[in-house]
Subunit: 337 residues, 2 copies
């Protein structure tokens, strides 16, 4: 092991607007050895998620920014190589925030053990990981759909949106998905089984298309994108509608943020509740969420789609593409077999 | 009585942008006689409120629009002239939605009897009426300030904002008021007793002035105005801040609504809750609110300021001025002694 190097992708510079390959740097370092309580993990699947764009900026966000020269942050499913923690042994499959690198040294307390017999291990950073839990808690704790209500989901084919769409259907709601392009829309309609789908790239008048797809208005809006899509949905809010602000991917690459029509008039008139969320707000309840989601997956009620690209070196380009909607499903980098 | 005419102000045409005197029409009609269950009321004080601008538009709002030719809607404190309802007798002081007219015929069930021994009767459409109740329920049911938290109030010298400012102080919060002009700001600081006040008309960099006035950020924002003031406050939200959307007076005269920077990024990052409200949402609890507010007034803990203009014929100009912030305190039209 000591001869092999650890390849890492670090933040080389902060992007202004859209990230470019020059904002990232591939470096090689030595693979460390675990101290007491630590575990050395080899990365197998790296999760790429929109929130990482926020970490690349110096601006305040959920968590501290990634510093220049630091390894890019990210959730990983990996295999234990060496353990000095009683809870883990070599060969164990684990999930932790290892970041964009081939090997990571973490405290055992920061790792979650994955049972490979329950589901493919890659799902631990997808439908049975943060995106799935984000959908579960955001939809049921904030959105609170009732049977018969209309739930609109943006980025409905994405890692979070696809789970929200299906959970809302399971909960008896009428679900309208928004996605970009015919392939994603066909997937959302035919595979995920929503009631109507809107291709935001194809519609000239998004508000009109939404109005047609939501004849009874919108009771719950699960927002992953922000921007003009959100502006259009806001025109259709029903009395006491709930809007979950989970992501704003259309804003992230705008240096000065997005400007548009205020949605507060609709909020006032319809007494809408808007709430921002992050999955860590329900950390103590993750086991509940994972148990439910796992059962739905095993019962065939919850489908998922992965967009897997091989090779750590391809992470920057894949990430840049994802921010532009080029991914189709949960974006993963396969780092090792 | 039958000889005397009833003067009314009706909606002559719908305003585009700012209302003009031509949008209103003064007409004279016969004074009706009450049928069984009805009460004839002579208007004494007419309340002018920003929400009335919404009723002048055809667009969907809380309630149905006022139709062209209909009497302008509005809350009134009046005196019973003739009653065919067992609960009221001539001379009783009552509050009801009589509108912009000298006499109104209402069902007794639509009237609330006012006890003139408890407080000046004009307060029944002010601090002890809808504006006061709006402040009470909006602040405590949605804003939920804790002692030591920072509460920001826009239009802090207005009918609702002045009550919010004082209730938040009573609740132990640090209160920052926003008002327009030195007179209103002095009133908010010296009479209402807030901790800091900002003159939004005088500050070139509102966000910077707010940041200075709110060194610990903003936990509760009670919004009566919207627009750039709200955009500035949103930059200072703390984790789990609450924003009460009570009014958006800066938007009402904009034919296409207000456009500006999206505040959703701050909502997402800080997991903010934004909620729109109308006082009718707590209709069953009004007695509780009125009892509390009345006690605070009698104890001298809750001050109020009235801006009274005499003569129904002056209502349109006074209303137009109020939408531009020309009022100072709760705007009332004195219709009769």
């Amino acid at each position: 092991m000591t001869e092999k190097k650890n390849r890492q992708i670090t933040l080389a510079s902060r992007p202004v607007g859209e990230p470019t390959p020059e904002n990232f740097k591939l470096v090689e370092t030595a693979i460390g050895a675990p101290e007491r309580g630590q575990v050395l993990v080899q990365s197998l699947y790296l999760s790429l998620d929109p929130y990482m764009r926020g970490r690349m900026s110096a601006a305040k966000s959920y968590a501290a920014s990634t510093e220049i020269g630091d390894v890019m942050t990210g959730g990983v499913v990996g295999r234990v190589v060496e353990s000095k923690h009683a809870g883990f042994k070599p060969g164990d499959i684990v999930n932790g925030t290892i970041g964009w690198q081939e090997y990571g040294l973490l405290e055992g307390s920061e790792l979650r053990k994955i049972d490979p017999s329950l589901a493919p291990i890659s799902t631990a950073v997808g439908v049975l990981g943060m995106p799935g839990l984000t959908a579960y808690f955001g939809l049921f704790e904030i959105g609170k759909p009732r049977p018969g209500e209309t739930v609109v989901v943006s980025a409905a084919s994405g890692a979070v949106g696809a789970v929200v769409s299906q959970l809302a259907k399971i909960a008896g709601a009428r679900v309208v998905g928004i996605a970009g392009g015919p392939d994603k829309c066909a997937y959302v309609k035919d595979e995920l089984g929503v009631d109507a789908v809107i291709d935001y790239k194809a519609e000239k008048d998004l508000a009109a298309a939404l109005a047609k797809a939501c004849p009874d208005g919108v009771d719950v809006y699960f927002d992953n994108v922000g921007g003009p899509v959100t502006d259009a949905v806001a025109t259709l809010f029903n009395l006491r509608a709930r809007m979950v602000v989970c992501g704003l991917i259309s804003h992230y690459n705008m240096p000065n943020g997005y400007s548009g029509p205020s949605i507060l008039r609709s909020v006032l008139t319809n007494r809408v509740t808007i709430q921002g969320m992050i999955v860590f707000d329900w950390h103590s309840r993750w086991p509940e969420g994972l148990a439910r989601l796992g059962q739905f997956v095993r019962d065939g009620k919850l489908k998922y789609k992965e967009d897997i690209v091989a090779g750590l070196e391809n992470a920057p380009a894949t990430f840049i593409g994802m921010l532009n909607g080029k991914n189709f499903g949960k974006t993963l980098i396969k780092i090792a077999e």
